[in-house]
């Protein structure tokens, strides 16, 4: 394998665990890469002459006299324009049958952008989905995950958002992707004629889980190349980050670290933040936007993985099936885009903020009314109107298959308000309602 003549070959492994091997070696750098019995490994601990390596594919069958060759460098990716249109594995090796990409070798998982060199994100990404554009507007340079139960069509949604997002490059980091989903992404991008702007780093369920740990760094290093060197708008899709975190847990567990909540490593927050914080808007126009998927188990967002994710990302988009209309919606309650205020009402129509808030408040009233109904109480007229409104709102706006521009979404909202409510039930600023409310009781008309 790729060892060159001057590299020393070690053949005396002293300790083997499920994920790591330890041996005596000197002059080794922390986080350096190595081949252990032809498997890629990385230095995770050095104590005097004792070096411990994490073997990505696992240590099954490794013998104490296996060959260990240190590469003298951290993990790298070769970057160039030729990355575009290609499919790679977690190590950056082609899996599409084409030759290796030539380009400049860059360390993956490199340093952070100086915060004072960042630009405040302000460019809206239109997806056509009201649960996003109307209620949780996203912008370039943002990092936001979909929170979804495993049975939600999250990969379809993510892929569609990506295609509508008008990015210069879309980089897919697939972790524990099922083969079906991998082929789905591939076919969708191909059919959209978008293959030449897509780069994929794929770890499927058939690959060893620990390999996944390299995928986000690979994807983000490629993203940094296009965003910094080429000033491009790059969209990075990371799915499924829950499986990434699971792999972190496997490793830390095997290295005898004290687990914190939900058997996750105590450093989970920092580990995830290091990835998500690669999302950035540069002053020269390049940007990295991260749209991730975090699958939940039984909708539990207090589990350490979604919880830490929520503390890191700039909001979350919560997928849920609305039983009233039998369709998947972006749940207005638990979803949030924290950067929306940077564009709402300035990059979109002035009434955006007020309309959004009024609609969600009324939707919340509907939820309370439903609870009341479920508890067997009579509903007031207002309760009934709220419930009717909520159904309309779900059907005409929230459903994931509705495709409108923001202005149309606002118009639909006003019409629904007029249909179900009186003006003073909206609590909207008068200056705004004077202009857009067409129902009764408007002094402005």
């Amino acid at each position: 394998m790729q060892s060159s003549a001057f590299q020393m070959i070690h053949t005396k492994i002293e300790k083997i665990t499920k994920a790591t091997v330890s041996l005596e070696a000197s002059g080794i750098g922390n986080e350096e890469m190595a081949w252990v019995d032809n498997r890629l490994a990385q230095v995770v601990k050095i104590n005097k002459n004792q070096v411990t390596l994490q073997v990505y594919v696992g240590t099954e069958g490794i013998s104490t006299n296996a060959e260990v060759v240190f590469l003298g460098r951290p993990p790298v990716l070769k970057v160039s324009e030729h990355l575009a249109g290609r499919f790679f594995d977690a190590y950056g090796q082609p899996i599409d049958g084409n030759p290796e990409v030539e380009g400049e070798e860059r360390e993956i998982g490199g340093p952070s952008v100086n915060p004072v060199c960042r630009e405040q994100p302000s460019e809206l990404i239109a997806t056509g989905i009201a649960g996003i554009d109307l209620n949780n507007t996203i912008v370039t340079g943002q990092k936001i995950p979909f929170f979804a139960d495993p049975d939600q069509p999250y990969n379809e949604v993510v892929a569609n958002v990506a295609l509508k997002a008008q990015a210069d490059k879309i980089i897919l980091g697939g972790m524990g992707l099922s083969n079906d989903d991998y082929l789905y992404f591939k076919a969708l991008f191909e059919n959209a004629g978008a293959l030449d702007k897509i780069i994929s780093f794929i770890n499927t369920t058939e690959n060893p889980p620990v390999e996944r740990l390299l995928v986000p760094d690979m994807a983000l290093s490629a993203a940094e190349y296009f965003a910094v060197d080429k000033n491009e708008k790059v969209l990075v899709l990371l799915t499924d980050m829950t499986l990434y975190a699971d792999a972190l847990a496997i490793v830390s567990n095997k290295m005898d670290q004290i687990p914190s909540k939900d058997s996750m490593p105590g450093s989970l927050y920092s580990d995830l933040a290091k990835l998500y914080e690669k999302a950035v808007q540069f002053p020269k126009g390049g940007s990295i936007t991260i749209i991730a998927v975090t699958t939940l188990s039984g909708g539990d967002i207090t589990h350490a993985i979604p919880d830490n994710t929520g503390y890191i990302t700039e909001g979350q988009l919560f997928l849920r099936t609305d039983t009233d209309i039998g369709k998947v919606i972006v749940d207005p309650f638990r979803s949030l885009s924290r950067l929306k205020q940077l564009v709402i009402g300035t990059k979109t129509r002035e009434d955006h903020g007020q309309v959004m808030n009024a609609a969600i408040r009324l939707y919340a009233d509907a939820a309370e009314a439903k609870t009341k109904r479920d508890n067997g109480f009579d509903l007031s007229k207002y309760d009934k109107r709220c419930i009717d409104f909520a159904r309309d709102y779900s059907r005409h706006l929230l459903a994931i298959d509705v495709n409108l521009d923001t202005k149309a979404m606002l118009e639909v909202s006003w019409r629904l308000f007029e249909k179900h409510f009186s003006l003073d039930e909206l609590g909207i600023k008068k200056a705004i309602s004077d202009k857009y409310w067409r129902g009764p009781g408007n002094n402005g008309n």
Partner: protein, 584 residues
């Protein structure tokens, strides 16, 4: 100086074999090719120093040389701290080269070249002690005091003071000597170890004034004292950062120090972008003139998170020594605690609850204890007011960081997921939150002098209304709308009124986001009047629509400039509605 050799590396924990004496928390530099990586001693056993490295340790090898500095982590204090963006180790981020942070690049905290106009305050022959005001310079609009070193143990005598004029920060501006005949040349700057509180004052007093934040639910309901402490726990996305940022814009402090500790880079970018433009609502000066940002975002080295909050506190204490009122905001103290946890686990210490270090409560208590209102030796007063956010895992307040903080902070602003979900911002829970200052005799006296003798009892009466409203709501949801007396509906809607008009406040509306004291006085009086009224309704169905109308008008008033023409219009509208309510 002591030297050493690296013997082991696990993530950012480095073990070093040393050849001489070293001390706990001493700073050392690890020489890796041409990079010097700063680390701090956190444990010593025999000749082995365990060090936390403030940088990424990628590529670090066993055998690298280490040089100890003989000093703990220090900051440089002097004119020019304001308007700066520092990292956790007080490197000026604007002076760093390149788009990406290069490890081992430490930039100067202050500007060597900048000259200040110095005016002497001390006279030759005067006896001075630690923190004595020797002179002053103008930093932005602040009278920045040049002070005698904070570690002077005894009284010294001023031998000479520079003539008024223009000087650089490192020029000698005074010479002092002590009884033993030792002389010391002083410049405009001094260094101070961040983990040690500056104590150059006569006494720490009980807080007796309020820090106005512009948030109604804080200033009116749960006031924060100048020199006081408060904390904001809440699940992710409930508004901790928004509350802190709004306070940093509107608070009645002279100086604002923002410590962004292990949170998002885009949040500090917001400050960098907006503060040079935004104005202080009281003085009309640009906000960044009174602000210093210490930022160690979540992707920056974990060990420096701890340093960042101490750096921020030390800079805060420095300005307090000038007789100024400083507001320190740290977001989020949980990230700092997590950094301690990561290190403690690597050191294989016996873990406490949730694997946090055993001494976490003490660490938090000591930090909060550094806030306070002090009388300086010259009789002037200064304050450090501290508000920290806490990010409890899973939003569950029964966790070590929240519990330890609750024991020491005097104000508790609990953010509720339910309120955030229904967009009732700020999501500060009106029932769970409290301010112990509302019960303090000094603050009660302050309030009664400022806003009249009935203020505190009016506040308590509205808070009580909130509670009654909740009870009424519970009853209604158990017994049904028509299963309770109409009064229950009225009680519930009175609490909704207080909620909508006083508690809820749009942080993104240019007018509503800041409520002056005058406005809050008007608001409280008006709400009290409405709530004290007895309403008679024919049926429960009439209650909600009536109150919604009132709420609508009052909310509209919140969006108008105080006492402006449209404000008056809505006021008249609501007054006439109020009379309608009486007769129905």
């Amino acid at each position: 100086m002591t030297r050493g050799i690296v013997t082991g590396i696990t993530a950012n924990l480095i073990t070093v074999e040393v050849d001489g004496p070293i001390s706990q928390n001493e700073i050392a530099y690890l020489q890796n090719n041409d990079e010097r990586l700063m680390s701090e001693v956190i444990r010593i056993t025999g000749k082995t120093a365990y060090m936390q490295c403030f940088e990424s340790t990628r590529g670090v090898k066993v055998g690298l040389p280490v040089e100890f500095s003989g000093e703990m982590l220090e900051v440089e204090l002097g004119p020019g701290l304001l308007s700066k963006n520092y990292d956790g180790l007080q490197s000026d981020l604007n002076k760093k080269e390149g788009l990406f942070l290069k490890r081992g690049e430490y930039t100067a905290a202050l500007n060597e070249e900048k000259k200040y106009e110095f005016a002497a305050l001390a006279t030759v022959g005067e006896r001075v002690n630690a923190g004595f005001w020797l002179g002053e310079v103008k930093e932005n609009w602040v009278n920045h005091k040049i002070m005698a070193p904070f570690n002077l143990a005894s009284e010294w005598i001023v031998e000479s003071v520079a003539a008024n004029g223009i000087y650089g920060i490192h020029d000698v501006i005074a010479v002092i000597r002590n009884d033993a005949g030792e002389r010391m040349e002083l410049s405009m700057t001094q260094r101070w170890p961040v983990k040690i509180p500056i104590r150059a004052y006569r006494e720490k007093s009980r807080p007796y004034r309020l820090m106005e934040t512009g948030y109604r639910i804080i200033d009116t309901f749960n006031p924060l004292a100048e020199g006081g402490t408060g904390f904001i726990p809440g699940p992710f996305g409930c508004g901790k950062t928004v509350v802190q940022h709004t306070i940093s814009r509107n608070a009645s402090a002279d100086i604002i120090i923002i410590a962004a500790c292990g949170e998002r880079a885009n949040e500090v970018v917001e400050i960098f972008t907006e503060f040079p433009e935004l104005e202080d609502p009281r003085t009309g000066r640009k906000l960044f003139e009174r602000t210093t940002v210490i930022c160690n975002t979540s992707n920056m080295p974990v060990a420096a998170r701890e340093a960042s909050v101490y750096t921020a506190m030390t800079i805060g204490e420095y300005y307090r020594q000038m007789g100024l009122s400083v507001l320190l905001l740290a977001d989020s103290t949980s990230r700092w605690a997590q950094a301690l946890r990561e290190m403690s686990n690597r050191l294989e210490e016996l873990p406490g609850p949730d694997a946090f270090p055993m001494d976490l409560p003490a660490v938090i208590a000591n930090f909060y204890a550094r806030a306070g209102m002090v009388y300086l030796h010259n009789g002037a007063s200064g304050a450090v007011t501290f508000i920290g956010t806490v990010s409890p895992a899973g939003g569950n307040l029964k966790e070590p960081v929240t519990e330890s903080t609750k024991k020491v902070a005097q104000c508790f602003y609990a953010l509720s997921q339910k309120r955030a979900d229904s967009k009732r911002y700020p999501a500060i829970d009106p029932h769970d939150s409290y301010s112990k200052y509302l019960e303090s005799p000094e603050i009660q006296q302050f309030l009664s002098e400022r806003s009249g003798p009935r203020w505190v009892s009016d506040v308590l009466s509205l808070k009580n209304r909130m509670l009654r409203g909740k009870e009424a709501q519970d009853q209604i949801s158990i017994l049904g709308d028509d299963g309770v007396p109409i009064d229950y509906h009225v009680d519930f809607w009175k609490s909704e009124l207080i909620d909508a008009v006083l508690i809820q406040q749009d942080a993104f509306d240019p007018i509503d986001s800041f409520a002056s004291v005058e406005r809050q006085e008007y608001g409280l009086e008006m709400l009290k009047k409405i709530c004290d009224r007895k309403f008679r309704f024919q049926s429960f169905e009439a209650v909600a629509p009536y109150f919604k109308k009132i709420i609508n008008s009052l909310k509209q008033m919140n969006f108008c400039d105080f006492n402006s023409a449209p404000f008056k219009e809505f006021e008249a509208q609501f007054k006439s509605m109020l009379n309608e309510g009486d007769v129905s």
